[in-house]
Symmetry: C2
């Protein structure tokens, strides 16, 4: 069967993360059920670019899957139809044919995450469970200085979950861009790959810098300490969005 | 009692519009209930800048109300506390003291509405009930040309609801700004005031221009016809946001 690259949007608050788990509603399981309905009971595994945690949203999560040959728009419509019928909170936003050796996870050369903070005293209404509410005004310049210390190749042991299973804690961050528009602060992180909770731990630390609780100059020491307790708090999952991944398609 | 200007954010899909209606959940009624709880049973009327329809959201709707003298943040916190307790989908984002003759509706010198269109084949997930999904790619240049014909002082009879009760159908639009970012098209309208359904009828018409169903040159003829059937369709309520109003505070 040919291999297809699906792009999936989902509301992370409706799922216990991407990865299939016995007895829990996950994006992977819900997607595979919709595919099965769309293809007459076919059971096929899906592979995502990133295995997001419970609560983390996706704007464009790449997923590969092998399916019987069909027109691209028919694949998209059929999966979306059964997802809608089942009341799912995901949709297939695009479908393309890829090479048989394409791998949504291992072929990705770049991943981009966005984290949204809303600076507001009142509870969030339209961005409830879509952004992290931080009441204290954040110092953008201090946050940007701190972010510059995270860019580049580092051992990110202090910024990964203690249960992270990656063998190598070294990662290279290509860029961190922090922008502000009205009450919204958006932090975008680009890297080939990230460790478990790495973006949320960086955001939690940057937020503490913005609040003045940590100096931006403390970041190099946090990295050097190589233990989780040296860095800042973990930002909540619902402010995080898997934005996109990049591939070199031949 | 002194007069206060509250700014309210709300999710329009959770209410039958702003205005109090017997037996229906409206923002005005819900707000007045929360105020009553916050002020020991006090029953006071609230006056909003705009009486939005069912489904229309507000980012910052100005509302005036006369309340016993209290610290501004205490007013905000108390109302938000009772709103949260009641599971409401609104929040008070700011409170300020205004002159006794300030009027949220009549003192406004400008109102700004934003309409969101998402260009996507798949059903909307994160923007479900937050944007209008339009599949056909819209011609931005044609829409901008059409919008220019709407700017200025015109008789907007063709663009108001047939049940609109305003005596004078003449309005002056200061600006219409149409921007595109990824799949999102945002249309912002600024005017001293608008007629009933006027923004939604303009957006529905601009969308038909963008689809190529109507020429941008047809807009002057629509205005001249002065009947609702001459203009385009009514865009759905859930894509519309009351963004802000402007006052000259002395």
């Amino acid at each position: 069967m040919p291999r297809y690259l699906l792009t999936i949007e989902y509301d992370g608050m409706q799922y216990h993360g991407w990865q299939r788990q016995e007895g829990l509603r996950t994006v992977q399981q819900s997607l595979e059920v919709a595919i099965s309905k769309a293809f007459g009971g076919l059971i096929v595994p899906t592979v995502a670019c990133g295995r997001t945690d419970a609560g983390v949203h996706a704007i464009a999560m790449p997923v590969h899957v092998d399916l019987p040959e069909a027109q691209l728009y028919r694949i998209q419509h059929a999966i979306n139809y059964y997802a809608f019928q089942a009341g799912e909170a995901f949709a297939v936003t695009s479908v393309r044919l890829v090479a048989d050796d394409f791998h949504a996870r291992f072929s990705a050369v770049n991943r981009v995450y966005r984290y949204l903070i809303h600076q507001q005293q009142a509870p969030l209404v339209l961005f409830q469970q879509r952004a992290w509410r931080v009441v204290k005004p954040l110092d953008m310049e201090a946050m940007r200085l701190a972010a510059q210390h995270l860019v580049g190749m580092h051992d990110f042991t202090s910024f990964r979950a203690t249960e992270c299973q990656a063998k190598n804690p070294v990662r290279t961050i290509d860029s961190i861009v922090i922008t502000q528009q009205g009450v919204e602060i958006a932090c975008e992180f680009m890297a080939r790959s990230f460790l478990h909770h790495m973006v949320r731990n960086m955001v939690g630390t940057l937020k503490m810098v913005g609040e003045g609780k940590i100096s931006s100059e403390a970041i190099p020491h946090m990295l050097a300490a190589r233990e989780r307790s040296a860095a800042g708090e973990t930002a909540p999952a619902y402010g995080l969005y898997f934005l996109r991944a990049e591939y070199i398609l031949t």
